[in-house]
Amino acid sequence: MTEPRSIGLVTAQKAVFDTPITLSSGATLPHYELVYETYGQLNADKSNAILICHALSGNHHVAGRYAESDKSAGWWDNMIGPGKPIDTDRFFVIGLNNLGGCHGSTGPSSIDPATGKPYGSTFPLVLVRDWVETQARLADRLGIRQFAAIIGGSLGGMQALRWTISHPERVRHALVIASAPKLTAQNIAFNDVARQAILTDPDFHGGDFYQHDTLPRRGLRLARMLGHITYLSDDGMGEKFGRLLRSGEYKYGFDVEFEIESYLRYQGDKFSDYFDANTYLLMTKALDYFDPARHYDGNLVKALAEVQAKFLVVSFTSDWRFSPARSREIVKALLDARKQVSYAEIDSKHGHDAFLMEDAPYHAIMRGYLNNIAHEVNA
């Protein structure tokens, strides 16, 4: 094994699909594009491919940098690279931007070839199972019949779970991290507050703000601030910010006084600069709708009956947005369906965001599990 290091410079690729896809909502897209990145080499029997599914605001840039001068690397660079838990010396790793995204894949901000204008409000809602179908088509294009593993956190974990149900024979292992079998009412409620912030922004224009040369920046900013709070834990936030004041004293006004306010506003502003409001709406809706048991009388065990994949389910103790109890529901359903599953509950104070952080026990389990997969597929 090599010393862990970054994958280095990477470039994105684009796959163009001209075969129409009919989505769960009934809408059809005649043409779409997916942007993706790959790292490592696909082996001769194409058995060492790993698909990384992104979460809510994610994209295809999972590891490495585009230029030496890039300040930050891909969003899961601490996990993926030569000698890292998802070892690109052994595995062929694919990251992609989901359909409906705003980082190059066809989405609401893309130009609709039929009208020559951005899709905006006419872009259809996309469900997790639709993403799985588009990912399967990308896999076909790359000649990958079966993935060694499909890995995702949060909304990405839902995609990995859905894969095992939709295409049981195409997934050897699913790694479902900080996820849930479906959202709770509280979770849907948070998502709706975020959506309302966007939908009621006067600059939203019913989703067609592109033509008005404006952006619903305020709504998107609020949505992100709310989301961000729910991804952290009280303890983690307290440790990082506490009641620290920027100027050291109370100003008796509504400007930024506490460090946490400054942090959230900064995060919100940054996000509203680069993320598309319609994509945010679409991705949160996909989260809300996700419920693979829905077509099996609400019975997840039945939904998992045909699953062939082995699972690693991981949760984090301080994650209250996708709590360990929700991961244990997945584990219990898999056990009851007599599937192979391992479950780890990682001690962390970083809340939901813990799945993106470098934590020795968490990475050790990922490394151990993936080593075992590498042996299975002779990678």
């Binding site: 082995k310 690693l312 244990r328 584990v331 219990k332 056990l335 009851d336 192979q340 599953v341 391992s342 479950y343 780890a344 509950e345 990682i346 001690d347 026990p361 050790a364 389990i365 151990g368 599990y369 080593n371 075992n372």
Partner: protein, 197 residues
């Protein structure tokens, strides 16, 4: 890996497991028993382990493991899901002994436990000299021991009876060797196999 690579108590447990059986190993540690059973007896197994290092070790050797606290019960598992439920060298450190034994025979048909035998003569001798016993199988001082429920072979079998269970096999060991003569006096480690009466 052959049977001799296993810890002596695990080797004797493995002898009791029938080929092809489904096994739940509670407090499975690094998963050595389950890995051996999968390789040599074609068994389907699950481990339960609270310590993250143990969970990692299991995952590394391809043993399915659920990180969980046994004191919270076995609610993750359905009734009669396993042929054998194993609890090795953990019973004496648990709070709710009756609870875990009952749970073992709820989720499984046959239970197997191993525990340090407090009736072992060296323990008795040290007590006679006025000291809390420290021995190979109970290697802690009274002030730092995780063991809160020590018992003898006889005590354990009395508890089984009280719970409506009965012993279907007993092996008592000392330093890995089977003790046939006066086991409750000369054996330091006990293995019990039990079922619902």
């Amino acid at each position: 890996m052959n049977a001799h690579a296993l810890r002596p108590d695990l080797r004797h447990i493995a002898d009791w497991i029938t080929p092809g059986a489904s096994v739940l190993d509670l407090g499975c540690g690094d998963g050595a028993l389950l890995a051996w059973l999968a390789a040599n007896k074609d068994s389907r197994g699950y481990g339960v382990e609270i310590d993250v290092a143990g969970v990692t070790a299991c995952v590394e050797r391809g043993v399915s493991v659920i990180q969980s606290d046994l004191e919270a019960g076995l609610s993750t598992f359905e009734d009669k899901a396993f042929d054998f439920v194993v609890l090795s060298l953990t019973l004496q450190a648990m709070h709710n002994i009756e609870g875990i034994l009952t749970e073992m025979l709820r989720v499984g048909r046959t239970g197997i436990v191993t525990f340090p035998n407090f009736g072992y003569w060296e323990n008795r001798w040290q007590l006679l000299l006025g000291r809390m016993p420290v021995s190979e199988t109970i290697p802690y001082e009274w002030y730092n021991t995780p063991n809160i429920h020590l018992c003898t072979v006889y005590d354990f079998e009395r508890l089984l009876k009280k719970l409506g269970m009965w012993s279907t096999g007993r092996v008592v060991l000392h330093q890995g060797e089977k003790i046939e003569f006066l086991p409750n006096l000369l054996g330091s480690l006990a293995l019990e196999r039990f079922e619902r009466a």
